[in-house]
Symmetry: C2
Subunit: 185 residues, 2 copies
């Protein structure tokens, strides 16, 4: 079974041997309120857009502090490009991909808030043009997981939905296919 | 991706072309109260044991009528044989398998009760020695799904738990890997 394909979960073990594998993620960490960070407008203007700390602070001004155990979702609108894989990957002539992502410093703030994981409607929670995978090192190193290639997030409210992430329990897997349900308020 | 392997879901399309595929099962049908039918004692004595109508009537005497939208689980104790595949399959010298299952007439009563699906801690909701797959025809034909090779069910109460079955959304799949969570009362 391919581990990092379709809608999938990256386990902390994806980047570091010895870290939690997909079958070991505590079930409690797979259930949590959805924090939806909307960057559709920014991403439409700049496909290399990275969500920064002030954006989260702005969200918190409206909705209160991101709660421990939340799952933070980046809504870029990229899912609407699917199934046009070319437009979804958005590669330049050198093969580099261009789609928005979380910045590493924004991830650090979300880790301080004790979120359980990050998710996105693109191929990766890290922006497509990243060369150093700075975000992956920060988040997976801190025991978070990623939900990638999520379907259209447009019907989710910015706060109030509850997520259930159900990865297939691949023994020792660094990730794997995941079904994600959102319970709407 | 293999569709009928490990802990997996049989979609109605498993036996009938034109029936619901795994990606088309309404989400509402994947959430429901667990009705646990315990046949560990009977299965230990007779590995060809089939759950019959009186067993369900006895369960209902104690817990009230099986509710619409419930997921009926057969608890045989077979999961404890895993990972000893030989003992789990329990084949005789002719290769026929022997493990307990639901009988077709018990399934018909559960369909009358409008359950959403059946599940078991064996390889199949139908008893291992079945040659005609009578149960599969009844249940899948009625739009039910099966959850097979579930892990140990011993901590589930006979009533009061709530199940979330999360199959991977394989387009057009006749079934596929599933993660199943039980919320305990």
């Amino acid at each position: 079974m391919l581990e990092h394909y379709g809608t999938h979960l990256d386990a902390p073990a994806h980047f570091s041997l010895g870290k939690t594998t997909v079958d070991q993620i505590p079930v409690k960490q797979l259930f949590g309120p959805a924090v939806v960070l909307d960057v559709r407008e920014q991403g439409a203007k700049d496909p290399d857009f990275q969500l920064r700390v002030p954006h989260i602070e702005e969200w918190e001004k409206h909705h209160g502090q991101v709660s421990a155990g939340a799952i933070a979702l980046l809504r870029t609108g990229w899912a609407l490009r699917w199934p046009d894989a070319k437009s979804y990957r958005n590669q330049d002539t050198k093969g580099k991909m261009h789609f928005p992502g979380f910045s590493a410093e924004a991830a650090k703030l979300l880790i301080e808030r004790k979120v359980s994981g990050l998710g996105c409607d693109t191929m990766s929670v890290e922006y497509g043009a990243s060369e150093d995978f700075a975000l992956h090192r920060v988040t997976l190193g801190a025991g978070l997981y990623h939900l990638e290639n999520l379907a259209d997030l447009s019907t989710l409210p910015e706060t109030g939905a509850f997520l259930i992430a159900a990865p297939i329990k691949l023994e020792g897997g660094s990730g794997g296919p995941v079904r994600v349900f959102a319970l709407l308020p």
